[in-house]
């Protein structure tokens, strides 16, 4: 009965979404306050029923109801309870349900926190979110129902969750990513509502900003966690692979970043309105496109079995309707949106625009690289893959252009800015970073470097420059506050806005991340070796001794553990234990790497396969500063979060429009 109730709740939620998509919108055009008021209750009802549906699917997993096909395919009696619960979103149907749950959650949050918005705008935004939700729920009900049963007879035990997913990474990574993707639907809905109503002004930008911020924070966290997860779970020490699924999350991130900055210009200066709206539409469109890529199997084409052309077709039609309609609305309505702001060539506006252009170029490059195999096959019939070097080649120069821009933008003014000041402001930070880089370079072991090229040196130099300039900017602001107000340092700190601190943290995060990427790609040591018990190798200043193997049996797998003793230059010793796990239900093997994590370097050991005479192939890696890239990601997310808390977003009831009371 439980799965049927879950299914029924899903259908009810679907009905409420339809009502939400139609009635309040109708109310806005007919000026019917009752219909407009309905948006609130409908949004709540939609959330309640989708939550019930989700809870009941989770319940089916918890009680091992293998009569449900989805449960039988992704769970097993021996699976620990925590993984039974997280297995809910371990495959297509359940993750889609989670997607809809998060979407409804966002819609509810918008309804709740935006009570100070004019009622008609709020109703319109919620209506548009309802329509998006209708599309996804239709998809769920039509071709991806997680509540289908094996009847009349069902298996006694399930097929088990994929061992790769039996991990903490799975618990947090997909929901974060989805929250980010779906979060852009808020900015998207605001943009469409603004186009339809023709009210695209500074207050519109102010309403959109916190929502865009938060979505961006989730996406940043999702990408960071995904990269970290791939690093420790996939067994080979890589942290970014440029594969279609990663690219699918990177593209909305890049456009979302552009959107954040463009929204700032629109709010503060009333410029770039039409461009901002287009970015808001694009950020969500790329999120949807990502979903399509991941789920249609168009690009990860192998999985003949996972690929259901019907599903792919459904998402394609959905994409065409949502994105196509919004771009038509844009093309027709955007001319009504005019920007009157005047600014000089050298001003914060222009540099932010340039930064936007660079981010868009980056997005287009990723898009092209991701789709090129498809284009190639469609036009010539040949099969190709686009290798990571393509992306690296493009991204390195783009980063080198973005970093100095990031340093300069906060230093110059809106409208117009004198250039003379800049040299004076930057000479010390540039000099400092130059000395720092030179010092590091001289002190580092040059023989260990892989390929030290000019791009890497410049990247580190610019990143340190950015970092130092940020600190100098903060200190400068505090000093001038003190001079002007005679207040304490604490007062000075309090006088600056959270938006400013958010910017500092996020930009510092980028600097740290870039340094991490640059250093780890140049100074990593990575070797595959044959090790027999008693063998000793030396690498990157560490000694590794293969002591032997031991076997252990766990609830749902057996593990073969290698004991490898590591000795550092100071003579300290410790044991690292990489594992090879065998999961009997799926008869699959997994490599569980041993990682000795540190702020300045990671040691990474992975067990390959058994060779002759008791020897094993082992991959040993020493990865300096690898942690910095995730640390940078977390800092960016934290900065975005802080900026969202800025006081000015907690606006009072808007009375200017005369509608909201």
């Amino acid at each position: 009965m439980i799965p049927e109730i879950g299914h029924f709740a899903l259908i009810l939620s679907f009905c409420f979404s339809i009502a939400l998509g139609v009635l309040p919108m109708l109310g806005v055009y007919q000026k019917n306050t009752l219909l407009i008021w309905l948006a609130g209750p409908l949004v709540a009802a939609q959330l309640v029923f989708i939550a019930i549906s989700f809870a009941l699917l989770t319940w089916s997993f918890a009680v091992d109801d293998f009569s449900v096909i989805y449960v039988a395919s992704n769970s097993n009696r021996a699976l620990p309870m925590v993984y039974k619960v997280t297995a809910v979103w371990g495959a297509h149907e359940g993750s889609l349900l989670l997607w809809v749950l998060i979407l409804s959650g966002w819609a509810f949050a918008v309804g709740y926190f935006s009570r100070n918005l004019p009622n008609d705008i709020r109703a319109m935004v919620l209506s548009i979110m309802g329509l998006v939700s209708v599309g996804f729920q239709l998809f769920l009900l039509y071709s991806s129902n997680p509540f289908l049963r094996f009847l009349p007879d069902f298996p006694l035990d399930g097929n088990d969750l994929n061992p790769l997913l039996q991990d903490f990474g799975l618990i947090v990574h997909p929901p974060m990513l989805y929250a980010g993707y779906v979060g852009f639907s808020v900015a998207f809905s605001f943009a469409i509502a603004a186009l339809l109503s023709g009210r695209l002004d500074a207050s519109w930008a102010r309403w959109s900003r916190p929502w865009t911020n938060i979505a961006w924070v989730f996406l940043t966290l999702g990408i960071t966690l995904g990269s970290w997860w791939a690093y420790y779970e996939l067994g080979w020490g890589g942290w970014w692979f440029w594969d279609p699924v990663e690219n699918a999350s990177l593209m909305p991130w890049l456009v979302g970043t552009a959107l954040l900055h463009s929204l700032a210009v629109t709010e503060k200066r009333g410029a770039f309105k039409s461009w901002t709206v287009l970015l808001a539409i694009s950020a969500f469109s790329l999120s949807l496109l990502g979903t399509f890529l991941v789920r249609s199997g168009v690009l990860t084409s192998v999985h003949a079995f996972a690929v259901d052309p019907e599903r792919g077709m459904f998402i394609l039609v959905f994409l065409a309707v949502v994105i196509g309609t919004s771009l038509i609305i844009y093309a027709v309505r955007a001319p009504t949106v005019k920007s009157y702001a005047v600014f000089e060539l050298f001003s914060r506006e222009t540099l932010l625009l340039l930064n936007n252009v660079l981010l868009i170029v980056a997005t287009m490059t990723v898009l092209l690289g991701t789709f090129y195999p498809l284009i190639y096959e469609a036009t010539t019939g040949g099969k190709i893959s686009v290798g990571p070097p393509y992306f690296n080649l493009i991204f390195a120069p783009l980063i080198l252009l973005v970093l100095p821009l990031m340093t300069l933008v906060p230093q110059i003014f809106w409208k117009r800015s004198p250039t003379t000041d800049l040299i004076k402001k930057n000479i010390i930070p540039l000099l400092c970073s130059f000395i720092l880089c030179a010092g590091l370079w001289i002190s580092s072991d040059l023989e260990a470097t892989n390929e030290l090229n000019i791009q890497i040196i410049l990247a580190v130099l610019f990143a340190t420059w950015l970092f130092i300039a940020l600190i100098k900017d903060l200190v400068g602001k505090l000093v001038s506050y003190k001079k002007a107000h005679q207040g304490s340092v604490f007062d000075g700190i309090r006088s600056l806005t959270l938006g400013y601190y958010g910017m500092l943290l996020a930009h510092a995060g980028i600097a740290i991340c870039v340094i991490g990427v640059a250093v780890v790609s140049v100074y990593s040591v990575d070797k595959d070796l044959r090790l027999a018990p008693g063998d000793l190798v030396e690498m990157g200043g560490y000694q590794f001794e293969f002591k032997g193997l031991s076997q252990t049996k766990q609830a749902n797998y057996t593990a073969l553990t290698a004991n490898i003793e590591v000795t550092n230059e100071a003579g300290e010793r410790w044991i690292m234990k990489p594992e090879k796990r065998t999961y009997p239900v799926r008869q699959s093997q997994m490599t569980e790497a041993a990682i000795d994590a540190g702020f300045f370097r990671d040691l990474y050991l992975a067990l390959g396969e058994p060779l002759t005479k008791g020897a094993w192939s082992v991959r040993i890696q020493v990865k300096p500063l690898v942690r910095w890239l995730w640390l940078g990601g977390l800092l960016m997310a934290f900065g975005g979060f802080i900026a969202t808390l800025d006081r000015r977003y907690r606006a009072k009831k808007v009375t200017a429009s005369g509608v909201g009371i």
Binding site: D243, T300, V357, S385, G387, D528, S588
Partner: protein, 151 residues
Amino acid sequence: MNAVHKKRLIIVIVGVAVFSAAAALVLYALNENINLFYSPTQVAEGEAPVNKRIRVGGMVAEGSVEREPDSLKIQFTVTDYENSLIVHYDRVLPDLFREGQGIVATGKLDDKGRFQASEVLAKHDENYMPPEVSDMLKKQGANASEAAPKL
């Protein structure tokens, strides 16, 4: 030409310059970094270029895996049931590499017609798999995106 027009002109010129520089770079990068896929038959018929990064795929022939006793060097035969190709490799193999499994290898064909692989991906013969998982497996080297090698 007044100031506004001049400003606009400069913005447009800078924009066009950035875009065309990017476009040129992209075209160059794409040209350098696409790896064409060949089947053992195509290689046997001489369609594949020598000393250029390509990818080949097929099944690992039963009983063809040979290891050198004191190193990681390994060689095996990849077949599409019509022709076969010997692949050399000297790194750790993916978890799912087995005889009789489908694989995709990236590397170069040397003058003697041997394939020197720099990366080997094994395909997964599991039945049902969600796209996210197949993607993760691919990263792990357990899967091959381009999967469908033309057998």
